[in-house]
């Protein structure tokens, strides 16, 4: 059990929860994640730790409502208890003084990028952050990023704020201007990570991508989260979630994410139907 200390809506479908988790708060490092089970009988959802305070004993998670699991999570309120919370899981980001770092986040992937940006800046790196979203209302953590990096470049698909286009366009521009980087970190939808890391890798920049494969236990037991990196099978939960983007078999990774899409859709329909039924009863 873990209490929701604060609930905050960051954009239409994106929420930030502050959770009471003293042991995890003390242990976690940038790049690690937790698994959340919102209520009894629900799925286990892996979510990156977006922020934490060891002294006060809390962690923060940021999530987007995409499936029935996150839908249930979003239905909880401040003061409610989350049935299960376990972590910190996965390997922490390797942080040292690299020099110039380029951190690129797309959509809700900006959330897991935040602690890495903070850790890299704290280690004395010169950090450029690129954040992207479909439209300006969906941009998150711009202020927090600005405080913890040298500069933040914003991109929106519809041009409602900043660069008009994808984050990959921003990255292309930076390279075109002759900017050099010693490390790139990219987190976001798999297709975006594939496109962006293709650019950074071909520019010769060591690139880390944080993957979000389907998993159950998060401790290496199920093997559902396997990804191929440099021709070897790795487990996202215990070997990752970050891997050398140059070696990731992106097509396999993207494909594996689609395994349950038809079943997920059915589940969402069922849930929506139930809510509609209940609402119509009330009315």
């Amino acid at each position: 059990m873990s209490r929701i200390l604060r609930k905050e809506q960051l954009s239409e479908q994106v929420w930030r929860y502050r959770l009471e988790a003293p042991r995890i708060a003390r242990k976690r490092q940038a790049g690690q994640f937790v698994i959340v089970r919102p209520i009894e009988g629900q799925e286990r959802l892996p979510l990156t730790i977006a922020n934490a305070d060891a002294q006060q004993g809390w962690i923060e998670i940021i999530f987007q409502v995409i499936g029935h699991g996150t839908m249930h999570l979003a239905e909880l309120n401040e003061g409610d208890e989350i049935a299960d919370l376990v972590g910190p899981l996965g390997q922490p980001t390797h942080v040292e003084r690299f020099g110039r770092c380029l951190c690129i986040g797309g959509g809700v992937g900006v959330a897991p990028l935040f602690p890495i940006v903070c850790a890299l800046s704290a280690a004395g790196n010169d950090v450029t952050v690129v954040v992207g979203a479909r439209t300006k209302d969906l941009l998150i953590l711009q202020q927090e990023m600005a405080v913890n990096s040298r500069r933040v470049i914003v991109a929106t698909d519809d041009g409602s704020k900043g660069f008009h286009g994808f984050v990959s366009g921003v990255v292309q521009d930076l390279f075109a201007k002759g900017e050099k980087f010693d490390l790139a970190v990219v987190i976001g939808p798999a297709v975006m990570m594939k496109a962006v890391s293709a650019l950074t890798v071909s520019a010769g920049v060591q690139t880390l991508a944080s993957l979000n494969p389907i998993m159950i236990d998060g401790t290496g037991m199920c093997g559902g989260c396997r990804v191929t990196v440099h021709g070897q099978t790795k487990f996202g939960c215990v070997d990752g979630p970050e891997f050398d983007a140059a070696g990731i078999d992106w097509d396999e990774m993207i494909n594996r994410l689609t395994a349950y899409r038809p079943l997920e859709r059915q589940a969402i329909d069922r849930h929506t139907c139930r809510i509609e039924r209940q609402t119509s009863k009330v009315l």
Binding site: K27, V86, D217, T219, G223, T233, N255, R256, T258, A259
Partner: protein, 484 residues
């Protein structure tokens, strides 16, 4: 004449009623129904009550077998259950999943001329009777001794250690990584072989005895063994974290959609209840399912696939039936239910459609050659004999490696080249003082009862190491005082 009849009767075991195969392959209900009272008494009366019972020697936790069987024969079923629980805190589980045919029953004198006493069946009966009649009584528990023991993992090894130590007056906290305690008993073994309600009840019994269970703690991540000692004040730690890292074959196509480790497939179905209508955790219900492997886990997977609606469920095993490590009863049940056995063939590739969903398993035929290091005849591929098995789900059930989470975060703990924790078989002691280990993390994947046996041994040495040095000192002081 009368005597002869008695003897011939005595040689035959009372059979256990079970769900017919054509019915049970469509549900997740338990297969055997268990004995009723009169069946149990009849079976119990077969026991010869040997003066030097060999069956007890065969039991890793030394259940007082003739004594509990005598109590059943006398109709005192609750007393029988309590007798078992003196050395085994999980009798309803053991009665179901222990390989008695290799342990206690194989030693039974009756087995020389006929069928051995159904010790497992009787153990199950006594435990079920006690639970169903709500007459479960807590065993005597010694007053608190002020010592605190951490148990890592709530599977069979950990639960046994916890049960034994709490009786001795220790404060016991069990740490479980998942959201439900029970380890392999809840995520691995399916409902039709071990109903989860029974596991829950046996764990509740331990909790009533005083065992505390903390779920959602991954030792090695949430907290380390060193911190358990230094910051949380534990006096000893038992590691029973199991063999939780699935092996894969390393063949092309293994990461396609529809390929599961048995761990994942069974966890989705058992722990996450994917078999229930409207469950939130999805599972791909194959039309044709191929399971690779020949152990109990392979049987569990193939039989689960059938119950999830597969038209065909196929076991693919590279040796012959004689080498299969699964219990005979499991193979028998699987065959009855219509599981197909493709023996002496080994997968070489998993073939997929254009969306990378599994479409077939490509295999090569094998023949048996010279015996290998395990004493079993080594399977050798027959050149040019490749063929395809059409399927849309493949389950890999070829074993598990030890989970490296704890060894990798506990530098003082010595591990073997296979990644298992090195621990003394007799007492569970490891290379680190006050740290003990047992079960699959030490032996590699094995059985529930062997893990429980290791747990019992470790519990004894923990009690000895934590209590006796002091006792001796106190005694020494007492001895001295009268002289002064």
């Amino acid at each position: 004449m009368k005597e002869t009849k008695k003897l011939s009767e005595r040689l035959k075991r009372v059979g256990m009623q079970e769900q017919p195969a054509d019915q049970r392959r469509q549900n997740f209900d338990e297969v055997p129904f268990g004995y009723n009272e009169s069946e149990a008494i009849t079976e119990a009366r077969r026991c010869l009550q040997c003066g030097k019972p060999l069956c007890v020697q065969g039991c890793p936790v030394a259940v007082q077998i003739p004594q509990f069987i005598k109590l059943i024969a006398e109709g005192d079923f609750a007393a029988a259950a309590r007798k078992i629980k003196e050395t085994n805190s999980l009798p309803a589980i053991c009665g179901r999943v222990c390989p008695q045919e290799e342990q206690c029953e194989v030693k039974c004198i009756l087995g020389k001329k006929g069928e051995p006493v159904g010790i497992g069946n009787l153990e199950r009966f006594a435990a079920d009777w006690e639970r169903e009649h709500n007459v479960i009584e807590l065993p005597p528990i010694k007053p608190p001794n002020g010592r605190k023991v951490a148990v890592i993992g709530s599977g069979p090894a950990g639960l046994t250690v916890a049960g034994e130590l709490v009786k001795e007056g220790f404060e016991v906290v069990v740490f479980e990584a998942l959201h439900e305690p029970g380890g392999v008993l809840v995520y691995g073994i399916p409902e039709f072989r071990l109903p989860k309600e029974i596991v829950k009840k046996e764990i509740e019994y331990l909790q009533q005895m005083g065992v505390k269970i903390e779920k959602n703690v991954v030792v090695g991540k949430t907290i380390t063994i060193d911190e358990l000692f230094q910051e949380e004040g534990f006096d000893a730690v038992f590691v029973g974290s199991g063999a939780g890292l699935p092996s894969f074959m390393g063949i092309p196509g293994e990461n396609s959609i529809g390929v599961y480790s048995a761990n994942e497939y069974l966890t989705r179905s058992n722990l996450m209840k994917a078999y229930e209508e409207g469950a939130n955790t999805p599972i791909l219900r194959g039309r044709r399912v191929a399971t690779v492997g020949g152990g109990n886990v392979a049987m569990d997977s193939a039989r689960t696939a059938l119950r999830l609606g597969a038209e065909r469920s196929i076991i693919v095993y590279r040796r012959s039936e004689a080498e299969m490590p699964a219990r005979l009863a499991e193979i028998h049940h699987a065959k009855e239910e219509g599981i197909e056995f493709h023996l002496l063939c080994n997968p070489v590739e998993i073939l997929t459609d254009e969306k990378r969903f599994v479409r077939a398993l490509r295999c090569i035929r094998m023949e048996l050659g010279e015996p290998d290091s395990s004493g079993r005849r080594r399977p050798v591929p027959v050149p040019g004999s490749e063929f395809e098995i059409e399927c849309d789900v493949v389950i890999i059930a070829i074993g598990n490696k030890p989970n490296p989470l704890i060894p990798s975060t506990t530098k003082q703990l010595q591990v073997s080249k296979w990644g298992t924790i090195i621990a003394n078989e007799q007492d569970g002691r490891t290379s680190m003082p006050r740290v003990y280990a047992g079960g699959d993390i030490v032996t590699g994947a094995a059985t529930v009862i062997l893990a429980m046996g290791a747990g019992r041994n470790a519990a004894q040495s923990i009690a000895k190491d934590l209590l006796e040095p002091e006792d001796k000192n106190e005694e020494a002081e007492e001895d001295r005082s009268p002289e002064e």
